[in-house]
Point group: D2
Chain length 138, copies 4
């Protein structure tokens, strides 16, 4: 736990008003926490730009498991990367559609590669990578 620093920021009041309105809608109870979140989000982006850093992400995909051999292909992709993929949450949305969320740890560039492979697989209807962080330096 590092010491807390207090400091001032000057900002166009119109800009600040819009920001205050937004964060109040989002449920923030104070402005400092909202600014800390902005800073942390920027630092996470930085982590991901330096592709060699160890980081954490989640990959969300939606697919129809009835598509020819798709479940096999997806599970195969994942096992070749099993040292990076921590685990996968699978939800059966209906008789056809699956939601899968993978928790992945590794180098930013490797996580991006896994996400690209999965999302570009034919039959995967929708997919998104969340670039987050190990939390260590935030």
């Amino acid at each position: 736990m590092s010491p807390i620093t207090r400091f001032g920021i000057s900002m166009d009041s119109k800009l600040l008003n819009r920001f205050d309105k937004l964060i109040s809608e989002q449920g923030y109870s104070n402005r400092s926490e909202a600014f800390r979140d902005l800073v942390r989000d920027r630092l996470v982006k930085e982590e991901w730009e330096s592709e060699e850093l160890e980081t954490v992400g989640t990959i969300t995909i939606i697919y129809d498991h009835h598509k020819r051999e798709l479940a096999e292909t997806i599970i195969d992709h994942q096992h070749h990367r099993y040292d990076s993929i921590i685990s996968t949450l699978h939800v059966h949305l209906d008789v056809h559609n699956c939601l899968e969320v993978l928790a992945v740890k590794g180098k930013a560039k490797d996580i991006k590669k896994i996400a690209d492979e999965l999302i570009s697989t034919k039959g995967v209807k929708h997919g998104k990578l969340v670039m987050t962080s190990t939390g260590e330096n935030l």
Copy 2:
């Protein structure tokens, strides 16, 4: 939250000594909690014997996803029961072996059926059903 009743139990001291030793090894800090757990475990068994009651279970299976169409079969079994299976946690143990844990809610007999189907599938190396409870009456 119902009121707490205190009551006495008489027991062969040798039997009690063995029980006290066991629960201390298991980390219980007091004997009443250990007895409450015995009672709750017995009640859960009861819930599962009356097969029509709504209850909760987890099914753990280990399989080799390279076995011909096994991943497809397993995912298929699950989707036909998608209203009972809440979600599935998948862990890639190595290049071949998968651990899957399914959280299932439904009638005791339906959960047993899903477990039987999955565990008896050719290529599933090991499988166990945990019969637990919705927690409502414990």
Copy 3:
């Protein structure tokens, strides 16, 4: 399964070259699949703009579970919405940091609200909502 339509698109060749380069890096084996993904992504955005539609999302958060009562607060938030939250995958990243991914189903506006509440909670270091889809109309 609806019938397949083939149709032509005209596009500035420089623009197309850049797109082809990008999708080949992402691992797409053909251009049509990449275009289908663009269209599906646009339709998912639409689903989320109409806030009353039933849809699916995942919320990823990173937090330090040692922060005063944070784990309690987070689990509390989730239980008040337990009819929307299908399940949660929790990964212990290190002694302090947790990764949590929630699979959520419900009206777009309700899912956004859950995400806002969790991400704005003091002590949550980083959080992102993935707006995806039930997959039904994609």
Copy 4:
């Protein structure tokens, strides 16, 4: 993939009939698969008796997250063992009750210890350890 050996077994026909009836109810399509499952189950038990072997288990617990600081205690127990716990699936059963399933990898004795700690925690209503396997030698 090792070669397949065929061999004969002699058995009391009454015993065999009961077994055949049981496995047909469980959905086995052939008797050999049912016998293979018996053998594998016995080998898994062996793995767990030799407490130093690396193995895999799942721990299922049901608890009321409103109980004073229980969620904190449970998450704390887990983080002190974060190198063994691969990940946790959490399901909000109702406003009070949680189902948690932990996927755990490590020495048999360490996994048993984690299970004992969690299940004996005051407020945990029900808990069971499934002793399974890495699948490597099955």
